[in-house]
Symmetry: C2
Subunit: 437 residues, 2 copies
Amino acid sequence: MTNRRTSASASRRPVSAARPRRRPRLAPVRLGIIGLGVRTEVLLASLAGIEGAETVAVCDVREAAVAKILGILERQGKPAPAVFRDYRRLLEQRAVDAVLVPTSWNSHLPIATDALLAGKYAAIEVGGASSTEELWRLVRASEATGVSCMMLENCCYARNELMVMNLVRQGLFGELIHCEGGYEHDLREFACMVEAGYERSIHNRFRNGDIYPTHQLGPIAKILDINRGNRFLKLTSTASKARGMQLAARKHYGAGTPFGEIAFNMGDIVTTVITCANGETITLTHGIALPRPYSRNGRVQGTRGIWLEDANGIYIDGMSPSIQEIDVAGNPYTTHKWEPVESFYETYDHPIWQTYRRQKQLGGHGGIDSLALRAFIDAVRDRAETPIDAYDVAAWMSVTCLSEQSIACGGQPVPFPDFTDGKWIARGRAPAGPWAL
Amino acid sequence: MTNRRTSASASRRPVSAARPRRRPRLAPVRLGIIGLGVRTEVLLASLAGIEGAETVAVCDVREAAVAKILGILERQGKPAPAVFRDYRRLLEQRAVDAVLVPTSWNSHLPIATDALLAGKYAAIEVGGASSTEELWRLVRASEATGVSCMMLENCCYARNELMVMNLVRQGLFGELIHCEGGYEHDLREFACMVEAGYERSIHNRFRNGDIYPTHQLGPIAKILDINRGNRFLKLTSTASKARGMQLAARKHYGAGTPFGEIAFNMGDIVTTVITCANGETITLTHGIALPRPYSRNGRVQGTRGIWLEDANGIYIDGMSPSIQEIDVAGNPYTTHKWEPVESFYETYDHPIWQTYRRQKQLGGHGGIDSLALRAFIDAVRDRAETPIDAYDVAAWMSVTCLSEQSIACGGQPVPFPDFTDGKWIARGRAPAGPWAL
């Protein structure tokens, strides 16, 4: 483990330095990729920079998609991988250590479950579940085989989220009380295209719930030690009316046309409030159908401190500025002032970002895709637990179907299954390591 | 009505101008004030600058409080008011046109109801109700007498909230979809003092719900036309654990002392999600027990635009900056940028703020106390409807007891009574006027 840290520091040296420091070559990790869509193109950009990551097999039923991915690998100077049309054949290959499953939201859970049952580590992309049953199957497969399934939730490795985790673990926020998160991203121009096969358009057309909860829930769950001394207990979910996507479809296809007048079931804003076993609350917001700047609505708040993404601020009691003022009647009162998030980086960046912050060309989404992939690949190499495991995947993704159920019942509270069967109580925090969350 | 506007412009002229423009003197409005606490001191600072507002009667059972208020009026050069110990005696006075009722949260509703029944206009301070029954009594008293009860919700006259209303009414936000608001104010140093009679300390000790919803809900309700073509339909409410106030009490009184170890029932963060008849959702947050900068969490979002207080930003589709970017895989995407709220003031300030923005010395809370008081006093003078009426008071304050009920039932959705008995459907927006909301 120390080796990787050393190698990362070494790589920060200018390329022109006379003799690069010698370090042991990392053993290769042989990857299969199942599902070769746009997301895979982004993943390949990150994989190209990760030493030891070898794409030895790819799988898709769409020949054009296969050709495009083979072309990218060729331009990267990589050896041509074996190509499969049936993912079950790919899973039979002894030469594959692990699979990435960037397939559709309705297929990545069963495919990942099959991968675990075949003894392969599996990495899925973000998303939500359609039923708790498909999550139980994943959990049982991981428990039965001892093989880990990780969600490549890149936001768990985002700089601010990791720094806030660091501040929390150092006790600077006190006891945690409340968190917020969300996915607020104007995706009208893509998601309104119901005939283009764009995944969100289908789910937004037919479903009504928080179908994309993990970008901020993942980091929050890690910060709140979910499945390791804490767990999600219940949620309530509420959907606004649906207008934005239909207006976008009308604009795109024309008023009065069949696609232009299509109905979307998904409320433009879905608000979900989760209660945790230890009494913390989490408010999640999903909104992709309205114009606004992007935000993940991050908020982590404890008895001593708070981070609020939209204010780009952190406030820590007794440390951040606090000013005595006098009101018109002459009575004193105190006002607290935000400190900019950036002013904490130098001292409080998480060790992962202390190591990587000067590295360039980290790949997709400002480097965080690469960090999540590195975490997965290193775990596969070491046959270790992934920092996000099947219990995490199940807890996080269950928000989607439970949210749909709550909305269907008019906002009724819905309990979370305990996917750990009680093990969350005694499971301690994951052992320290370069990628531990 | 035009006269008042003219007088406001005139008053902006330098005092040294040779001859002040002549204008008719406003008829006096004779006020009784019931309850002479700290809030009354702040109100008097605002009343002093309002032409025609005469404090002719005051009432409190506490002689020291009476003496303090009489001292303030004397220093302001005002005539001494009549003093009452029993508010019912004050309500019998023909010389009183209207009463301000800045009494405790548990007493202002029944006193205001008695005032309406005595034919006096009544203004109450902000707060929440303990039962829907006390709100029904207020509504029935107002309906029976034709006299109006206003909540002095100063935030309804705050600059940003009014400007956002103006933007919404001009259609710049499109159809409204979702709003957020809250009261996040670190009040630990006062509210932990359980023996000092500070009102919040009592309510935070015994209750668990959003006991202070109106500061942002009031403006939002006006923007959403609640009780005038729309209404609150249901809510769910969720409370976090309670830690902040007890820690503050322990610090204030000492660990191990009776007051230092006292329990507070109120969750540190209470999250309430309201659904409106026309499909909009509203998320409210109450938090006074944790350290953080003040915020009312304002957010108003429609199909074309959004205001977000914590980002100090407004984004309007097709008007605010939007930038085309390219991801690592070469695919294009668009990012939207906030515009600072201040950049909208010049063009979009609400007429009320266009009139008053250059006026100084408006009294408490940056002038908004004064605006709310002027709105009330002008309505009394004209025997007109107040811009916030008994139906509004009932709808807004009912959030408190309904939130307590929802939390008590584990987050169960709770329906709102329709305090208008169906009149909300046909009631149009209030007639235009200088204070109309």
